[in-house]
């Protein structure tokens, strides 16, 4: 069992937890993720690592409940436990691979921009923090639909230059992250490396934008996954015409080579099933009055 030490509701629908997982905390690096399972019957859910404390042996996760399994996480409080918590999975971010002086010097010469959409700010934070701790200041665009959904602004501001933008203009700049990125470039910022993490549709459009400006762009893919160790092949993507497994070959890929349209279609595979399962969980038997028509109980 993996004990939850802290649990709280962040802005809007987002939740944050600190979990005791010494083996994961000992070795994880920015860009990697964990898979968690709350009880015997739950799904295995991949979640990004937001922060880690090697000495305390703890991992921080930030997530937005969507399906049945993650919605159950809302009820969790300090003292509860995850039945399973495995990681670190995936390859670490290329930026944070080496602490050799030459590697750090090379990074210092790069102008790096992170583009975070929604809960994508969670996996961006450890990368920006790692760079900051190695003397590198990056720019971070945090995008959200509205003010309530802006995530991790305060913590991010301590480790990077942060630009917040909201779709509805309720906070910070107004408009999508692509607009913010183009505005920053127009204002005189220049970038040669971009890391973009968020909903697939957003990553697709950020990649189209950065391609225009010739900025090398890394995205972190979040496809459907079961085991996360390269066994099931559910997370396969087409990258530059080749099949890649997000869990062992990624999750980070060259965004200009990823087939996003295909990835988005594959992401919708279990949508109907998930919806049915969610209603069943949320509404219980009231939804299934025995009409026998909708099939939601099957």
């Amino acid at each position: 069992m993996y004990k939850i030490l802290e649990a709280r509701n962040l802005a809007g629908p987002n939740y944050e937890m600190i979990v005791e997982a010494p083996r994961v905390a000992a070795r994880c690096l920015p860009g990697q993720f964990v898979i968690v399972k709350i009880d015997e019957k739950a799904e295995r859910i991949p979640l990004t690592i937001t922060d880690y404390d090697r000495e305390k042996g703890t991992i921080e996760i930030v997530f937005q409940p969507i399906g049945v399994s993650t919605s159950k996480y809302r009820e969790l409080k300090a003292g509860d436990s995850f039945m399973d918590f495995v990681g670190p999975l995936g390859k670490p971010s290329d930026l944070c691979l080496s602490e050799e002086p030459e590697a750090i010097e090379a990074l210092k010469k790069k102008k790096i921009v992170f583009v975070a959409g929604g809960v994508g700010a969670a996996p961006i934070y450890p990368q920006a923090k790692w760079l900051y701790e190695h003397g590198i200041m990056s720019d971070v665009i945090i995008g959200a639909r509205n003010q309530e959904l802006v995530l991790l602004e305060e913590r991010m501001s301590k480790v990077a230059n942060v630009y917040v933008t909201t779709d509805d203009g309720s906070y910070g700049r107004s408009g999508m992250v692509t607009k913010c990125l183009e505005d920053l470039i127009a204002e005189g910022h220049s970038y040669d490396h971009c890391v973009c993490i968020g909903p697939m549709i957003m990553m697709k459009f950020v990649c189209l934008t950065t391609k225009k400006y010739g900025i090398h762009t890394i995205v972190s893919m979040n496809p459907i996954m079961v085991d996360g160790t390269g066994m099931c092949g559910a997370c396969r993507l087409m990258v530059d015409g080749e099949v890649k497994f997000a869990c062992v070959d990624g999750p980070e890929f060259d965004g200009h080579l990823v087939d996003f349209d295909l990835a988005m279609k594959r992401l919708s595979l279990y949508k109907t099933h998930e919806g049915e399962a969610f209603l069943k969980w949320k509404e219980g038997k009231t939804h299934h009055g025995g009409c026998g028509e909708c099939g939601g109980d099957r």
Binding site: K41, T229, G230, R266
Partner: protein
């Protein structure tokens, strides 16, 4: 026909009771019901107790088959179990999943003029009897005080760990998934190998020998082999990580929605128990499923899809004689109503505008000249393309080894196929590091993995004795 003993009834084996095909096609309960005491003793009577028993040579873990059958005849069921457990840590599993017709039973003299002795069914009876009667394997009395790490809790790892524990070593198994058992849990379905009553019990037996199992640890990610040896005090390591990465055909349409690897389909169903309403993980079997491949995994995927309510076709490019699956699985699949499209090979997968699978285009094949493996290689018949309508395609084409360990262990030699290079005894290119099972051989069977785990345990014992 006269039998060796002059008794015509002795040439045929005692039939084993099975669930009716029509009934079992709609449930996940075990298909084969096994022998009862009377049936087992009656079948045991058929053993000729050859002076040079070929069956023992045919068994990858060399169980003393005539000896345990002799004990069975005498109704000494406990002694029969003791004989088997000297050589095998997982008899209830082997009795169910070994390809006996190509191993012990394939060598049985009885098989020349009739049915071979049903050794697998007898082994299963003995193991199930031991479980029901609380008979345990014998533990080591003295401890060596030396620690050995075993990577992977599948058949190779469990066997290696069990044997080392019996020799007095302090063994820890590291398992990447949340449940121990490897392919026995995620791959082989409930109806062939019950998880709670058989697999979990066999694993408990291994734990009773003192073996510790740590789940949710991915070697290469959570911890490296080097750290296990330098920081955690393990003096030897056995890698039994299996062959994980599923292969695809690289044909057009393979990324469409409704195309799964057999690994994904079976993992959802078996490990995550998607077939049960009370588990959260979803599974899609569709109304009509096509399974591509002819091995045990293809049979398992096909029979699982059938039980989830699909009409199922198996598409295999060679003929029936070349089907690599166990004879019993092919027989059961046919009985249950699975359609075999043999000498047929997929060309592309068809999908609608939403990218949902609508069919699979195949081409007829004929057998040409024998290839390097000696098997006649299939060649396409020109212009014979045809389409099978379906909404699900399951690819059961085999697997490649997982790169997680090889890419994080300096100095571990790999071959071209990314399998770990190891000697017959399991020694790898690194001192103190041994390997066996699918990680070395590429995808093979449960019993071959067990054989490799057993040999490696012996080699590890010899290595550690000299240290």
């Amino acid at each position: 026909m006269a039998d060796v003993k002059g008794n015509s009834s002795m040439s045929t084996r005692v039939p084993v009771r099975e669930q009716d095909p029509k009934v079992r096609a709609a449930n996940f309960d075990e298909v084969c019901l096994g022998y009862n005491e009377e049936e087992a003793v009656q079948e045991a009577e058929r053993c000729l107790h050859c002076k040079k028993p070929q069956c023992v040579a045919g068994c990858p873990v060399n169980i003393d088959i005539p000896e345990f059958i002799h004990a069975l005849k005498e109704r000494e069921f406990g002694s029969a179990y003791d004989v088997i457990s000297q050589s095998s840590s997982l008899p209830a599993i082997c009795g169910r999943v070994c390809p006996q017709e190509r191993q012990c039973e394939g060598k049985c003299i009885r098989g020349i003029k009739g049915d071979a002795v049903a050794i697998g069914k007898l082994e299963r009876f003995v193991a199930d009897w031991a479980k029901a009667n609380g008979r345990k394997m014998k533990c080591a009395l003295h401890k060596t005080g030396k620690k050995v790490a075993v990577i992977g809790s599948g058949p190779a790892g469990l066997t290696c760990a069990g044997d080392l524990a019996k020799k007095g070593y302090d063994v820890t198994i590291f398992e990447a998934l949340h449940k121990a058992g490897g392919v026995l849990v995620y791959g082989i379905p409930e109806f062939r190998l019950p998880k709670d009553e058989v697999v979990a019990k066999e694993i408990e037996n291994v734990q009773c020998l003192g073996v510790k199992i740590e789940t949710n640890v991915i070697i290469g990610r959570s911890v490296t082999i080097e750290d296990l040896m330098k920081k955690e005090g393990f003096e030897a390591v056995f890698i039994g990580s299996g062959a994980g990465l599923p292969m695809f055909m690289n044909i057009p349409g393979e990324q469409s929605k409704g195309v799964f690897s057999a690994n994904e389909f079976l993992t959802r169903n078996n490990l995550m128990k998607a077939y049960r309403d009370d588990y959260d993980t979803p599974i899609i079997s569709g109304k009509k499923a096509v399974v591509v491949g002819g091995g045990n995994v293809a049979m398992d995927a096909a029979r699982t899809a059938l039980r989830l309510g699909a009409e199922v076709h198996i598409v295999y490019r060679r003929s029936e004689a070349e089907l690599p699956a166990r004879a019993e699985e092919v027989h059961h699949a046919k009985e249950e109503g699975i359609v075999f499209d043999l000498l047929t090979n997929p060309v592309r997968i068809l999908a609608d505008d939403q990218d949902n699978v609508t069919g699979i285009e195949c081409v007829r094949m004929e057998l040409g000249e024998p290839d390097a493996s000696g098997r006649r290689s299939p060649v396409p018949v020109e212009g014979s393309e045809f389409t099978i309508d379906c909404d699900t395609v399951i690819m059961a084409l085999g697997t490649r080894p997982n790169p997680l360990i090889s890419s994080t262990t300096d100095g571990l030699e790999m071959n071209r196929k990314q399998c770990i290079v190891a000697t017959e005894e399991g020694q790898t290119s690194l001192e103190g590091v041994f390997a066996g099972g699918d990680a070395v051989s590429g995808a093979a069977t449960v019993i071959l993995a067990m054989g490799a785990g057993k040999k490696a345990a012996q080699a590890i014992d010899e290595y550690l004795k000299t240290r």
